[in-house]
């Protein structure tokens, strides 16, 4: 019976101890350190506006979760975005099957009917180049050109750039000056290299009556970039705002350029020999020009076209950098150093003329120059990116603001990152961080980017913003 006493004792002790809690104290209240997050303004392009899957849309709160919106939430500050009015927004791409078969959802008319009198915190405009944001000093046409380009961009319709053209133009820089920011993120400049690259190394030349010829996608000259980037940061400095600038990713770190292989053409022996015979006169012509001293042996070997019985024949591409030879096209077979752009994936092996089997794209007909970033163009865009990034680094440092090195970070992503048990990479679809357009992150990718900004802000300004759990945001939406 006495043993019952001990059981009773045990039960009493149990009651006492089972209330034990081991909760942690809550995080400290947000502390800006040397920064002041009262009014946060984000300037930039599509990456800042929350663009993904080839459009600005909000079906699953994609635009609501732009990277600056995520940061603002962690800052605990109010943040007004020019949010699209319907789920479909400007239209976007959607995954239909894993083939991958992608369709484009049509945009909704009037998706950009924003209130132009509202005071927006997110000033990101998809497609905008830094060079369009700031008038070129000493160029009387520059403000008008900027106005035309930016006004013609539907993604910038939430700001009034001066339409009709008779009214004095308002530049993007003006909006920056009027923003009364206490803190900013600046991720401008991507389109000053990316536009040229996504156009396959093309200037996108267009003629506007009365204004002349505009190169919409040309690489912005470094000297121009420097002055204009400085003037954006000058504007923030003038209002006493602190902030963070981001460098530009290398094009070879995004799936838009890394997904389509250069050698996807399968061929059996009979087809190969038939195709080669079709190129006999081209290959022979090269030999003749070499004999005449017009081109080097090296160029001949680079240009000669030869298909073999294999599953991995390289596609035939146009290359404007080859020596122009009367009677012969500027074509060669692609190498691993040439980058085929993502939209070209559906062109590979397509028979351009249904009645002509010799018109297979990439075999009988060369891939257009605009679909390929050739080895030389890759080198050019990489070196240009490096130069612009040096300008961004210098300008940020001169203005005493933090720098988020997205250039390096995107390479780290390419190598693979793991958050809370989920791996991410830069591979198209499988990598989980990029959206279906292969250029812009998906919502999880934007959360990863927001965390990188937060880390940079905390380390530079001594603030204590919390990062966000990446998996709490939506990834690719699978059918």
């Amino acid at each position: 019976m006495k043993s019952l006493k001990y059981i009773g004792l045990g039960i009493v002790a149990l009651g006492l101890f089972s209330c034990t809690k081991t909760e942690y104290e809550e995080f400290d209240a947000t502390n800006g350190g040397a920064a002041n997050f009262t009014t946060y303004i984000a300037v930039g392009n599509s990456l800042t506006q929350g663009y993904q899957d080839g459009g600005l849309h909000n079906e699953y709160n994609q635009q609501d979760n732009s990277f600056p919106a995520i940061i603002a939430k962690q800052m605990g500050t109010s943040f007004v975005q020019p949010t699209v009015k319907s789920a479909d927004g400007s239209g976007y791409r959607k995954l239909l099957s894993l083939a991958p078969n992608i369709t484009t959802v049509a945009g909704v008319s009037g998706w950009n009917n924003w209130d132009k009198n509202a005071k927006y915190n997110n000033l990101g405009i998809a497609g905008v180049k830094l060079t369009d944001c700031v008038p070129t000093a000493g160029d009387p046409f520059s403000p008008t050109i900027n106005q035309v380009v930016t006004s013609g961009n539907p993604f910038g319709n939430f700001l009034e750039f001066g339409v009709p053209l008779s009214t004095p133009p308002v530049s993007y820089l003006e909006y920056v000056k009027q923003s009364s920011a206490t803190f900013f993120t600046c991720w401008l400049g991507n389109n000053d290299v990316l536009g040229w690259a996504t156009a396959g190394g093309d200037n996108g030349t267009t003629t506007i009556p009365g204004l002349g010829t505009l190169n919409l996608s040309e690489l912005t000259p470094v000297s121009v970039f420097r002055v204009k980037y400085d003037s954006i940061l000058d504007a923030f400095q003038a209002m006493g705002a602190k902030g963070v600038c981001a460098t530009l990713p290398d094009v070879t770190s995004i799936p838009y350029f890394t997904t389509v292989p250069h050698n996807p053409i399968p061929m059996d022996a009979a087809t190969a020999s038939q195709t080669n015979s079709a190129y006999t006169s081209y290959n022979g012509g090269l030999d003749s020009y070499q004999a005449g001293g017009a081109i080097s042996a090296a160029e001949v070997s680079r240009r000669k076209i030869n298909f073999t019985a294999s599953s991995s024949n390289a596609i035939v591409i146009e290359d404007e950098s080859l020596t122009t030879l009367p009677g012969l096209p500027n074509i060669r077979q692609a190498t691993a150093a040439d980058l085929i752009i993502l939209p070209a994936s559906s062109d590979i092996g397509r028979q351009l003329d249904p009645s002509n089997p010799a018109s297979i794209y990439g075999v009988g007909v060369a891939f257009a120059d605009s679909l390929v970033l050739t080895e030389a163009e890759v080198a050019e865009v990489q070196s240009h990116t490096n130069m612009l990034n040096n300008e961004i680094r210098t300008s940020a440092s001169n203005h005493g603001v933090a720098l988020a090195d997205m250039y390096s970070y995107m390479f780290e992503l390419q190598a693979g990152m793991t958050f809370d048990g989920v791996e991410y990479g830069a591979k198209y679809i499988e990598g989980g961080a990029f959206s279906l357009d292969g250029v812009h992150p998906n919502t999880r990718g934007y959360a990863i980017i927001a965390n990188k900004f937060i880390e940079t802000i905390n380390s530079y300004y001594g603030s204590n913003l919390k990062p966000v759990p990446v998996q709490n945001y939506r990834g690719i939406i699978f059918p």
Binding site: Y6, Y24, E25, E26, L98, T418, R474
Partner: protein, 427 residues
């Protein structure tokens, strides 16, 4: 026996109570004395702690007990404060029998839970892609024999049959228009065999007119047991249609779980003052071979399902155990103890389902001897540990705080033995 197995199944789940997922609640007297028992051998739990010690027990001895474990674990990540791990209360149990066959030979048997782990989190918690719920249970059955070589030295050996069941759930990070995330549930069970051997020595006694001092030594080794989970079943749900060939509604898997070996060396010193009181000090040193738990791999039957392999890379660890027993008039006992437990989990490998830490834990207990046949033991363990570390492979870092209380109750029965001789009659 049928009832015991049945109650065993009800007794589960349980959780880790020493380094890794080893439970250390195999005897209530030992619990109260910091787990040091290899060099004591005074009740039937020696079938587990040191089979050689069975030769010390006369007649038939039964020791049975169970523990009530109430853990509480919370963690904090850089992103989220106050994530509570839901660790259910657990009631592992043990039953030991030791019976003298001849003067030299003693037979024994045990059933107990030596390894186990249960933890769960909210389904939508931050680390859901690492773990949502996990449950590992094991039951050991051990027929044992001991042989007295000499008055001072005996040896024992047991054959161990282990049964294990395992289940785990985690989120699969793929979403569709109607689902945000899928879920995987893996379940399996299996068995394995091992052995338990020990040497026990009443190495030295100092007898005086009114007191006796006994020195005892023990060494034991429990082998590792590889539990083959050959019949695993994986169930995937809420997977987008386009990915269902990769994560089918149901597929089989095989896996293997290695329960580590434990080598123990211990001693005890007991000073008995006539019928008045005795005081006993014990020390054990365990070496647990956790390095055998190097990877946890799941190979799925469905060829499209990516096989999973997690590197654990645990290390062998030492545990120091100390205990003191004070018994008044051979009837009332008070016990105190402590153990210093090194964690087998290196920094960079600390997973939220098992936030193990190197720690000093405290133990206490009481015992009451009802009569020569029956005595009862009460034991208590208090663990409290904090650790901040990462699981590098998963990109997860957290600060953990873990508190565990254990309340144990045991009963010892003794029969068929000659009536315990009075101290002054001994010799």
């Amino acid at each position: 026996m049928k009832r015991i197995i049945l109650s065993a199944i009800i007794a589960a789940p349980m959780l880790c109570l020493a380094g890794g997922f080893q439970l250390n609640v195999q005897g209530v007297k030992a619990i109260a004395m910091g787990g040091a028992f290899t060099g004591i051998g005074s009740d039937a739990s020696t079938v587990f702690f040191n089979p050689g010690g069975m030769s010390n027990l006369q007649g038939h001895n039964v020791t049975a007990g169970f523990s009530f474990i109430t853990p509480s674990v919370s963690l904090q990540t850089p992103e989220t404060a106050n994530i509570n791990q839901t660790s259910p209360n657990a009631t592992p149990f043990h039953v030991y029998y030791s019976g003298q066959l001849t003067d030299k030979i003693t037979l024994g048997f045990l059933v107990n839970n030596q390894f186990g782990s249960v933890s769960s989190f909210e389904d939508d918690w931050q680390g859901r892609n690492i773990i949502q719920n996990i449950s590992l249970k094991s039951f050991m059955f051990q027929p044992t024999i001991a042989y007295k070589i000499h008055d001072k030295v005996s040896v024992g050996a047991g054959f161990v049959y282990g049964l294990g069941t395992f289940s785990t759930e985690k989120a699969v990070p793929v979403g569709s228009a109607t689902t945000t995330e899928g879920q995987a549930r893996l379940e399996g069970s299996g068995d394995g065999v091992g052995f338990n051997v020990g040497v026990f020595s009443n190495i030295y006694s100092i007898k005086k007119e009114t007191s006796t001092t006994d020195f005892k030594l023990g060494v034991s080794y429990r082998s590792k047991i590889a539990i083959d989970l050959t019949n695993g079943e994986a169930v995937f749900k809420d997977i987008p249609v386009s990915l269902q060939s990769k994560f089918p509604a149901k597929t089989g898997f095989v896996s293997k779980l290695t329960l580590p070996s434990v080598f123990t060396a211990g001693f005890s010193v007991k000073h008995t003052k006539n019928e008045k009181y005795s005081i006993e000090f014990a020390y054990d040193l365990n070496l647990t071979g956790w390095s055998s738990y190097d990877t946890l791999a799941f190979d799925f039957e469905n060829s499209d399902t990516p096989d999973s392999k997690t590197t654990k890379d645990w290390q062998d660890v030492l545990t120091h155990r100390f205990g003191v027993d004070f018994t008044y008039k051979e009837k009332y006992s008070v016990r105190l103890g402590a153990y210093y437990d090194n964690s087998p989990i290196k920094d960079g490998y600390l997973s939220p389902e098992l936030p193990d830490a190197t720690q000093l834990a405290y133990t206490a207990g009481l015992a009451y001897k009802v009569n020569d046949m029956v005595s009862v033991d009460f034991g208590y363990i208090r663990q409290s540990a904090e650790r901040e570390s990462s699981l590098d492979a998963a990109g997860f870092t957290a600060k953990y705080r873990r508190k565990v209380n254990v309340f144990s109750l045991g009963v010892n029965l003794k029969f068929g033995a000659p009536k315990a001789p009075k101290i002054e009659d001994a010799n």
